[in-house]
Symmetry: C2
Subunit: 212 residues, 2 copies
């Protein structure tokens, strides 16, 4: 444990980024990957890859590369993505529906075990995944019963803070927030914001810089 | 122009992050914001905010803060988000439908001007926004006619690379990619990948570290 705590956050973020290309390489039958190859797949530089991976033990063989399956297993263990995390989704409009059915979540170890909405018209409906939409008022009981660990907020912006408060009160410590709202949270809890328009802002800047 | 080119990419990414809280502050009637306040809203440290904003001219008044509306206008100008960018979306499954109707895009200056799909059952259908779904084979004509500047890929993974190739061939220089595929691209073109599971990986690591 002592060792893990010293890994910088930025390294963790980049290492998570290495997972997907590594999984693809394994699927394609590759046994070894070089830092140059991995760097190219992830748009970072090879020295950065080598430095990041040095936190995870001695996988590299100088002049050869890394054993793909060993590296993948170790990264997953450290990132805690070698187990299934249990998610509850809040708000079943288009975005919520798209997320709940998105195959990537389960493939990466994130399983939606509950779906909540405020709209009486939606409550009781069965999703294609088999989940039945529950009223948000059931959050405490269902969090305990289904052991929900992470809440995903896809409600309207006006309902986002109220929903976050209920999530934290129910004992869920982490929220993935798709609403364009800065959520207030207890010190001990975690919030990650997803904002696609930030990616677009970054591209727009690059396009403008290159004279589009 | 000379000056803009020197701004580091990491600064641009953080500055884009400052936009949304600044817009909220303006809406709430705030005239001045301190670096501490802005830092707190964006989860960065105040010294970082001051350093980032120093690239954008002399907005700060020592001991007081920044003029919200001046700062917002200047950031938007530099990020090129003071104008409307024209988007085409490729793949109208749940995720595509959710994005095309997402109010945030237009609010931040990104307008979907075209929607494409491969599925003959979908082609010709009218979206709630008024757009009619077009066959991907129409990409060249429509890119020219509608001046599409950025392509958004929400196709199935197996169609993502083919779609990206068509987008770049049609003269669109930038792609926002929602598929879990590493896209090959010409040197001159831009790709930004959106991957929600990376945010979850980061939270899972933090939860594990704190003993969940």
């Amino acid at each position: 444990m002592e060792k893990e705590l010293k890994i910088p956050d930025a390294t963790i973020e980049r290492v998570a980024l290495y997972l997907r290309p590594l999984e693809n390489l394994l699927k394609e039958g590759a046994q070894v990957v070089s830092s140059e190859q991995l760097a190219d797949l992830c748009n970072v530089n090879p020295a950065q890859v080598r430095k990041d991976l040095s936190f995870f033990g001695e996988f590299g063989v100088r002049g050869v590369g890394y054993e793909v399956s060993d590296l993948l297993r170790e990264i997953k263990k450290i990132l805690a993505s070698d187990r299934v995390w249990r998610l509850g989704i809040f708000g079943l409009d288009d975005m919520g529906m798209a997320l709940v059915q998105h195959k990537d979540f389960l493939k990466r170890g994130y399983r939606f075990v509950a779906a909540f909405d405020y709209d009486p018209e939606k409550i009781g409906k069965c999703l294609p995944t088999g989940l039945v939409i529950q009223p948000v008022s059931m959050i405490r009981e269902l969090t305990r019963e289904l052991r929900i660990e992470i809440g995903v907020i896809t409600t309207s912006p006006s309902e986002a803070q109220k929903t976050a408060d209920l999530i934290f009160q129910a004992g869920i410590m982490a929220v993935l927030n798709f609403s364009p709202i800065h959520l207030r949270k207890p010190e001990c809890c975690l919030v990650q914001n997803v904002d696609f328009t930030l990616n677009l802002d970054h591209m727009a800047y690059q396009l403008k810089k290159h004279g589009q």
